[in-house]
Amino acid sequence: MKARIHVMLKNGVLDPQGKAVQHALGSLGFDGVNEVRQGKIIELELAETDTEAARSSVDEMCRKLLANMVIENYTIELES
């Protein structure tokens, strides 16, 4: 089973990299970009075949290592 984890900064946490990308888009002539938020995607290949067990295990991985809960949120997508 494949797990795809999206890690994003929480709302309200300043994202200077997103701001810099927004600025760069503007200077390339792409108008109308009101905000840019930059995050990361992490993909895992799991041996687990049970969806619920996989979700619970990946959730724990996110809380312990893959995301920093002080500043980041995460969502988990599973594909069998």
Partner: protein, 230 residues
């Protein structure tokens, strides 16, 4: 008195910390490899600066989960003094010994220069030889030094007087202009609740000798010698 320096892959201030400890404590610190699961009981542990694990995932995130950190947490919970400098601060916060997180500098630049720090309190083992509210000059050298915590955590730090240092001007005034990296409330270093763990982005171990540009870092180590010997 026994001291230790934890060495991770891509630590680069471990030797500076080693020299600082050797010259102030008068004995050789134990250099402990990150992959070791145990270490002897010591009086002071230094987590040095650098780019442990290449800053993969987040600064300090991988190092915080290396085998030796379980032992560091155990000793810290027993009251052993722990000093995390720069990457060491990032590692301590990722390991949960200190609250909050060090984010990318607000201007997205690596900043390497001297800054002024206001000593918020001088009744801890780390600051006993400094004057309260005095300004000391210490260098920073980081890309991820922008301290952030949620509102409750920040309120707790202020209420419990756990901010160790704030970026200030030469006269000790904490101003927006003196904030190099966007840190909340100019925070440059914080203590844990028991005041035995200090994390700070600036590098006191780099200003130990006049020949190296200044001695404002020396009272931290000298103070630890005196407090730990008492």
């Amino acid at each position: 008195m026994k001291t230790a320096v934890i060495v991770f892959p891509a630590s680069n201030c471990d030797r500076d910390a080693q020299v600082a400890l050797r010259n102030t404590f008068g004995s050789e610190p134990i250099m402990v490899w990150h992959g070791d699961a145990t270490m002897p009981a010591v009086d002071l542990i230094v987590i040095p600066g650098g780019f442990s694990y290449g800053d993969y995932l987040r600064s300090g995130a991988m190092a915080a989960n290396s085998p030796i950190m379980r032992e560091v947490v155990t000793q810290a919970n027993r009251g052993v003094r722990v000093l995390g400098i720069c990457n060491g601060f990032q590692i301590l916060s990722e390991a949960g010994l200190l609250p909050g997180v060090l984010m990318r500098n607000a201007n997205l630049k690596f900043i390497c220069r001297d800054v002024w720090l206001r000593v918020e309190r001088n009744d801890t083992a780390f600051t006993a030889l400094y004057t309260q509210n005095s300004a000391i000059r210490i260098p920073i050298a980081n890309h991820d030094g922008n301290y952030f915590a949620d509102d409750d955590t920040l309120a707790g730090l202020n209420q419990d007087n756990l901010v160790a240092f704030r970026y200030c001007d030469e006269g000790g005034n904490v101003t927006d202009g003196a904030n190099p990296n966007g840190s909340l409330e100019n925070i440059a270093g914080i203590y844990n609740k028991n005041l035995n763990v200090l994390g700070m982005m600036p590098h006191p171990e780099r200003l130990m000798e006049a020949e190296l540009g200044g001695t404002d870092g020396r009272p931290m180590f000298q103070g630890l010698v005196e407090v730990l010997a008492a």
